[in-house]
Symmetry: C2
Subunit: 310 residues, 2 copies
Amino acid sequence: MTQSELADYLQAQRTAIDRALEQFLKVYGGQTQAVLKAMRYGLFPGGKRIRPILTLTAGEMFGAKQKELMPFACAVELIHAYSIIHDDLPAMDNDDLRRGEPTAHKVFGEGMALLAGDGLLTEAFHLISGPEVRRLPAELVLRLIHELSHAAGVAGLVGGQAVDLESENKDVDLATVEYIHVRKTGALILAALRIGAEIAGAKTGELRRLSKFGEYLGLAFQIADDVLDNIGETIAGEGGESGRNELKKATYPSVVGIVQATERLQELLKLCDRELVSFGESAAPLRAIAKHVIARAVQDKGRAAEESIS
Amino acid sequence: MTQSELADYLQAQRTAIDRALEQFLKVYGGQTQAVLKAMRYGLFPGGKRIRPILTLTAGEMFGAKQKELMPFACAVELIHAYSIIHDDLPAMDNDDLRRGEPTAHKVFGEGMALLAGDGLLTEAFHLISGPEVRRLPAELVLRLIHELSHAAGVAGLVGGQAVDLESENKDVDLATVEYIHVRKTGALILAALRIGAEIAGAKTGELRRLSKFGEYLGLAFQIADDVLDNIGETIAGEGGESGRNELKKATYPSVVGIVQATERLQELLKLCDRELVSFGESAAPLRAIAKHVIARAVQDKGRAAEESIS
């Protein structure tokens, strides 16, 4: 898959996901407009939609139809959107900007942003327990709800955020950084992939290899983000572009340095590729996504180095 | 059922629920201790456990076993505990005290309280999609998850909280107050009751009558709370005992006055009783609970009036 083929592929998936999210939100209305508006703000225009794309991509690789995968893909994105709104709150990361736009609590106030996050999280579970998933066996759906809530709960997202919060302004070791990453970012990425494959009826061995791939990808994803943040801050000056009201966070580059972080990224890309070998050509999109996720940080690092020289 | 029989009954149910909640939380551990501690703080010692008791009581009335009902009863309480922690946050009601003790964010900080709420909500869905519910048909469990997430989401709890938040420091009419109550308090009480009955396999007509009962009870529950708050504030002085950092809230007594509010409570008790008639003696616990919920406010109102006279 060439870079331009990947771009088209990602764009097509993103469009399908956005349409499904719109459709899903249409069922609400009436006097709850304010909180829905805040929820929509957290969802649209949205970022890269990488998590729901992973659900679609993994599911389609094993032969599932988009229609079967979509409610779960959307639920994954609703959970991601909730986690971003809550994470941006003053009590957490205290971010004023997200992708160059004011964060939800800056626009709607802290209380409404809190409720919007609560709403997104709750509606994720509402979506994957209702009519949209009726065509799947109920036992399978229950198992997937269990897996998704595991990834989002104390053993995943919430637990990772909690340790991250405790680590603020402290010197942390690499084990703690990886502990946070595996839960805060890795768990949902892993669940997104696995859920797609499980809907498709992937075999145990296939699921095992996909899970290893997901673990490497999740870690790479967070390290890449940290590397890009680190470069952004280096270029723009402390907290300038990032909109973060300064906090010392536990990041990979801050513990091992940027050079070792990018080396680790390249190592993770190799590990990702290795787990996909047995899937042959059907894994082309996943392979391209992994490369894309990792390359953006490694390339930007090169560019940043050039800029700082010139 | 006499008052003392009811007290024993409620105590026995409460003990069983507390034991089940303890058991459930035991599966977690490791490095996520801080957030678990905050979650536990929101759960124990807890209040009256009225919502999970309603699940047990409604289910047992139609012949379900406690063991089948308990995961859902606990999930209802986890959701209630999450809603309290988030509702107490400075961005919402800004309460420093809850049942005479410091609120979660006062003890653990705002960020950890936020995460504890997120954790409780997420773990509610984790609990009712896992091994604990395997003995129930998967289709039924999915339907119950859908119903509970509906009650907790934009159409229920979150939506009610949002309108409540928007109504702060505004003059609101009775329709808005009831709109808020139905969603913020009523929806979860109704779902708690219905879920119990559905697990027991209650028939359509039975479920319809129980639902009417639940709607009246939910409204009565919130009006009673408002009446008691109002008396508390009248006796203790503005915000003294309640620990609330002053906000004008949309309450039933503030709109129609305390006399009409207690009249409405007595009317609701009659409506509750009427819906239970056809269930005969098996509805004795529900009947006693409704009377108890309503009488505490009506009696306290009498006592408060006496105190203010003497």
